[in-house]
Symmetry: C2
Subunit: 180 residues, 2 copies
C-alpha cells in the first residue's frame, strides 16, 4: 500500500481573533481607546454613571414632596433605569477584564449603543424637566421656603453628571459601530 | 539627435473626485443616503427643523407671560438658535443642489456634526424643561385657568418635533464622519 508521508513545515500560527469577532487590523487603534466596553476606562465610566444615578435617586426619593410633581417622579424612574443599566454593564466590563475577553463584536456594540442612547436620553430629559421646575421654584417663584429646593437641585445636578458620564460611552460605541 | 517618439495609447480617464475631497470608493453608498448634506432629503430635514423651530418661537413669544418662567425664556432662545442654524444649512443645501457640489469633505462634516450636536441638544433640553413646567401647571397644579397652557403645550410640542427632525441630521453626519 502506497502512503504519502508529508513533510512537516512549521508555519506561523494565525493571530488569535476571538472566534472571528475580533477587530479588523486596520481598526486596531480602537482597541486601546479607554472608555470602550471591556477597558478600565469603560468600567470607570459605568461606575460613575451608576454612582451618580443612584445618588440622584436616593436624594430625590428621600424628599417627601417629590411625588407631587410629575417631572420629579419621572426623574426617579429615569435614574433608576440608568443605574440598573450602568450596573449591568459594569458587571459585564468586570467579567471581560477578568477573563481578558474582547467585547467589540458588532451585535454587542449595537446593543450597547442602542441601550446607552435610550437610557442617556431619558436621563437627560428627566434632568432637564427637573431643572425647569427647580429653577421655577427657586428663582422665578421664590418658593423655596415651602419646598425642598436644596434636595431637588442636588438630585437634578447628580442626574446631569450621570448623563455627562453616559455620553462618552454612547459616543465611543456609536463611533466604533460606524467605523467598522 | 535621438528622440524617443512615444506612441499614444488611449487610457481611461480617472473618475472625477471633486478636488480630492470626494467620498472614497468603498464608502460611496453614503453618497446616496437621503438626509446627508447636499441631498434633497437633507434639505427637507433642514426645512422642517426650521419651520417647527420658528413655529415654536412664534407661539411662545406671542404669549404674554412666557417671560415669567426661565425655562420658557430659554426655550425661545434655543429655538431661535435652532431656526437660524437650520436656515443657514438649508441655504447651503440649496446652493449645493443647484451647483451639484459635494458637501462631504471631512472639515465640513465635522463642522456640521458639532453644530447639529450643540443646537439639537439645546433644543431638546429647552423642550424638556418647558414640558416639565407645562405638565406641572396643567396636570399637577391644575392652574391652566390663569395660564396660557394651550400655547405653552403647543410651543413645547413644536420644539420636540424640531429636535426630532434635527436628530437624523446629527446621526447621519456623525456616522459619515466616523466611517471615513
Amino acid at each position: 500500500m502506497n502512503m504519502v508521508h508529508p513533510s512537516v513545515h512549521p508555519i506561523e500560527a494565525p493571530p488569535f481573533t476571538d472566534g472571528g469577532a475580533g477587530v479588523p487590523p486596520n481598526r486596531s487603534w480602537m482597541k486601546d481607546v479607554q472608555g470602550m466596553p471591556g477597558t478600565p476606562g469603560g468600567l470607570a465610566l459605568r461606575f460613575s454613571q451608576f454612582v451618580f444615578a443612584l445618588t440622584s435617586l436616593s436624594i430625590m426619593a428621600s424628599t417627601t414632596d417629590f411625588i407631587d410633581a410629575s417631572a420629579f417622579r419621572y426623574l426617579v424612574a429615569a435614574v433608576a433605569l440608568q443605574s440598573l443599566w450602568s450596573l449591568s454593564l459594569a458587571i459585564v466590563d468586570i467579567y471581560a477584564l477578568l477573563v481578558q475577553r474582547c467585547l467589540r463584536n458588532s451585535p454587542l456594540i449595537s446593543f450597547f449603543t442602542i441601550g446607552d442612547g435610550i437610557t442617556s436620553t431619558l436621563t437627560f430629559a428627566a434632568a432637564c424637566a427637573s431643572a425647569g421646575i427647580t429653577v421655577l421654584l427657586g428663582n422665578d417663584l421664590r418658593a423655596c421656603k415651602d419646598n425642598n429646593c436644596r434636595s431637588f437641585q442636588t438630585a437634578t445636578a447628580m442626574a446631569f453628571i450621570s448623563w455627562f458620564a453616559a455620553s462618552p460611552s454612547f459616543i465611543l460605541n456609536f463611533w466604533s459601530l460606524a467605523s467598522r
